[in-house]
Symmetry: C2
Subunit: 479 residues, 2 copies
């Protein structure tokens, strides 16, 4: 489980490759007709959210939530209070079987952090520690800086690294590629005797913004402090070094890693009328980083998930199978809430018909990104046609899994989907102080909830189970 | 002078209205031919900057400058050191008559500032004081917050303002419109007994970014502390208030306003071969705010100005009239360097043929924004045709003045121009920690310098003086 968690660290998003949609679907005519028969229901759901009773509801509930709790960090009492609030909210909106499911989660907090450039020019150096980092000794670290752009450059410098602060000024390529410097930079540099590591914030766009995130120490390698700096300061260091100027930095980093503590995945359902044991799962994660308020990552995803069920309940819609909203805890420190859930529900996974997660933004929705095999893809293509009133009719297959928490499930075992949306700016705000309600738009949240509700409802209500065949060897998920 | 300075506070930019370019220019054929005869020279200038010896030079010199000095605040020793460096640089590149001209400038510094939301949820509140603000008493201010979007709303609330902290959550309309809340918010709220004022940062786009700027207390109104907060926090306060939630904030703001001190406008020239007393002036300002490093505002404008002369000198080009680069000091506290220069050169203004300033960004250049009357506009339209190799052929008239320091000159008295460029994102970075070298692009700086060099050289070299007639009553600039 640990290995799995380490391998798939945090959002494995935007990794999908667009492959041509199979235009030669051969779904049975009666299945096509059955899907088409949901048109009126789909339109009712959409209308209730875009012009009716539920218009603005997702945004307003989410705003009240984040304005009340702010950041919701794994291991904190504040997160547990936020979870209590979310559970109460799901009950208030009529969801069934509302409860928390325990998970033991990491608890790492930043106490104080300061950076200063001493040479070639005295200046403040804003730093933001990476999750799980150790701190410096009480009197800090003062050392010369060496800037590298890649791990290969680091290896090339070899013995000259000893005693230095390594700055990784990695280029933004994709999140999946560039995040390696955040995840593994500290241990990679520690092998060569570095004193500390600063990484350029992993983002395609910066306004002197700091973007934190979890990092992993490799076993057997000395643990050195690691933090991010802005893209701008990384580039400044690059220019100093390229001009042959000596760079000296002082760091005071103070963090505490507490014992793991109890948290909960939050669950609410609409129980199935015919097959209550069969589950279509919609999800997002409720925890966030400690900077910003996690409105985008992943307040939006968590709230469209339970609110989709609230809307369906309010419209009197009960599908044949159970619809289950899960608000994962402790996604940020490595999908920890999901791992606990997977362990305790592993023997029931055969009953999981379809799993969905939104953790890549709830900007203007375009449709569905799916990992569901050829036949499953054809079904989704039919379903999203019913989203024409909100122009969210794209069905894009993923060659890997989808979602973050559910990525291990959907990369091999279970068919699933994530929300395809206009999230080109997602990483501008990701894990930074800029992740606030201002990133979100009420109308886009309405439409995102509509996509979520329509797709999950239809899949949960179809006569036949969604096809499990992923056209790939079925790989066992380690539990 | 004071009155003038107060009236035209800081960049009066983006106030121009696009009016249709006069397509019926009736310039004398010999003048058109004379302008066309500069094609080879213009192309040489452009090539030297885009592919030749000077390629990358503007960016590299500017980067060295801002990396060495960082922010350059009016009244500080650091600004004076930066001015010494700039003067030495102009000499090194062969400019003539390089010297500083004294100006008495404001000196306001932030010592410490902290904001905290106490109710309805304890949270840190990042604040950034506005230039010239007084501080709070040593133990700070703790008061209830009232949010208004407009001055009219403030007046409507009247007596309920007493003892409160007023938050101006003004919408972004244009900089010229919205900046009124920054410039005058404190005095407007103080009339009603407010204890302090927080304004929403004046920007169309925020990443939880703080945007400072100068503010003006009205004479006879009690001076209360004033700072900006992020757009996100202003919107948060709006939501709290709209829900009927009580908001309490604590502020500790500590600033010092020192006596005005001596600074200098930095001057370098290529003296005219035929009319050395006649001047074409190119300019930008060398001072900056204390957040960020003023790379964009206005390092770019200052550096394309002197570097344009450096390139012309390097190419052996000496125009008939004198080309003068001026790097204004203390623009940010209200065009103070310009005012001193205007006062000491007021009797020579008849010799100022044409004045140029770039203080609206040096992004991809599009051409010239001018305030030059109908005939002058026709001449500029001919000149910018020579900028076709870099697609900077637009000539857009302004109905007001152009530039910031030179706005009083160009709104009535003198013909002038500013750099038209793709500056849609200018105010994203303006007066914030995000104003760094990363905003700028080496190629765009090369092209901006080329526009500056070509236009100023031709106007300084034409047989006849650039027409002074502004087709408006000539208003005397107060000195």
């Amino acid at each position: 489980m640990k290995k799995l968690v380490l391998l798939i660290v945090a959002p494995l998003i935007f990794c999908w490759t667009i492959v041509s949609v199979n235009s030669e679907c051969n779904l049975p005519t009666n299945l096509i007709k059955e899907i088409q028969s949901y048109e009126e229901i789909a339109t009712n759901i959409i209308n209730s959210l875009t012009t009716g009773k539920y218009k603005g509801g997702t945004y307003n509930e989410l705003a009240k939530f984040v304005d009340t709790f702010g950041a919701r960090v794994s291991g904190t009492e504040n997160l547990e209070n936020a979870i209590d609030y979310a559970l109460a909210l799901m009950k208030q909106y009529g969801l069934e079987n509302v409860h928390g499911e325990e998970a033991l989660v990491p608890h790492w907090v930043r106490n104080e952090e300061r950076g200063e450039i001493l040479e070639p020019r005295k200046a403040n150096l804003p730093v933001l520690g990476l999750g799980s980092s150790v701190g410096t000794l009480a009197n800090g670290i003062e050392a010369e800086v060496v800037v590298v752009k890649t791990f290969d450059q680091l290896k090339g410098l070899n013995t000259t690294i000893k005693g230095k602060i390594v700055v990784f000024n990695e280029d933004w390529i994709t999140y999946g590629t560039s995040v390696a410097y955040r995840s593994h930079g500290a241990s990679e540099a520690a092998r060569f005797g570095a004193e500390a590591v600063l990484i350029r914030s992993v983002t395609p766009f910066s306004m002197s913004t700091l973007h934190t995130g979890w990092q992993d120490y490799e076993e057997g390698v000395v643990k050195i402090p690691t933090a991010c700096i802005s893209k701008e300061d990384a580039q400044l260091f690059q220019r100093y070094q390229d001009r042959g100027q000596k760079i000296v930095v002082r760091l005071h980093l103070n963090y505490t890693r507490f014992e793991d503590s109890k948290s909960r995945n939050s669950v609410g359902e609409i129980q199935g009328s015919t097959y209550p044991d069969k589950v279509v799962l919609v999800s997002g994660h409720i925890d966030s980083w400690d900077v910003g308020v996690g409105a985008m990552d992943d307040g939006g995803g968590a709230f469209i998930s339970w609110y989709a069920l609230a809307v369906l309940h309010g419209l009197g819609l009960r599908p044949r199978r159970t619809l289950r909203a899960v608000l994962w805890t402790a996604e940020e420190p490595g999908l920890v809430g999901w791992a606990a859930y997977n362990a305790s529900h592993y023997n029931e996974l055969d009953n999981f018909t379809f799993v969905m997660e939104s953790d890549e933004g709830t900007f203007s929705p375009l449709g569905i990104n799916y990992a569901a095999g050829v036949e499953g893809g054809c079904i989704i293509q039919e379903i999203v046609k019913l989203l024409a009133p909100i122009n969210a009719t794209q069905a894009v297959p993923s060659t890997n899994g989808v979602g973050s928490d559910i990525s291990a499930w959907t990369s091999s075992l279970l068919p699933g989907a994530s929300l395809l949306n206009e999230n080109q700016r997602y990483f501008w705000f990701h894990h930074s102080a800029a992740d606030t309600m201002d990133v979100l738009d009420p109308d886009n949240l309405d439409k995102s909830t509509a996509v979520w509700a329509v797709v999950s409802y239809i899949i949960a209500d179809l006569t036949d189970d969604f096809p499990r065949n992923r056209d790939q060897p079925r790989v066992k998920v380690v539990n």
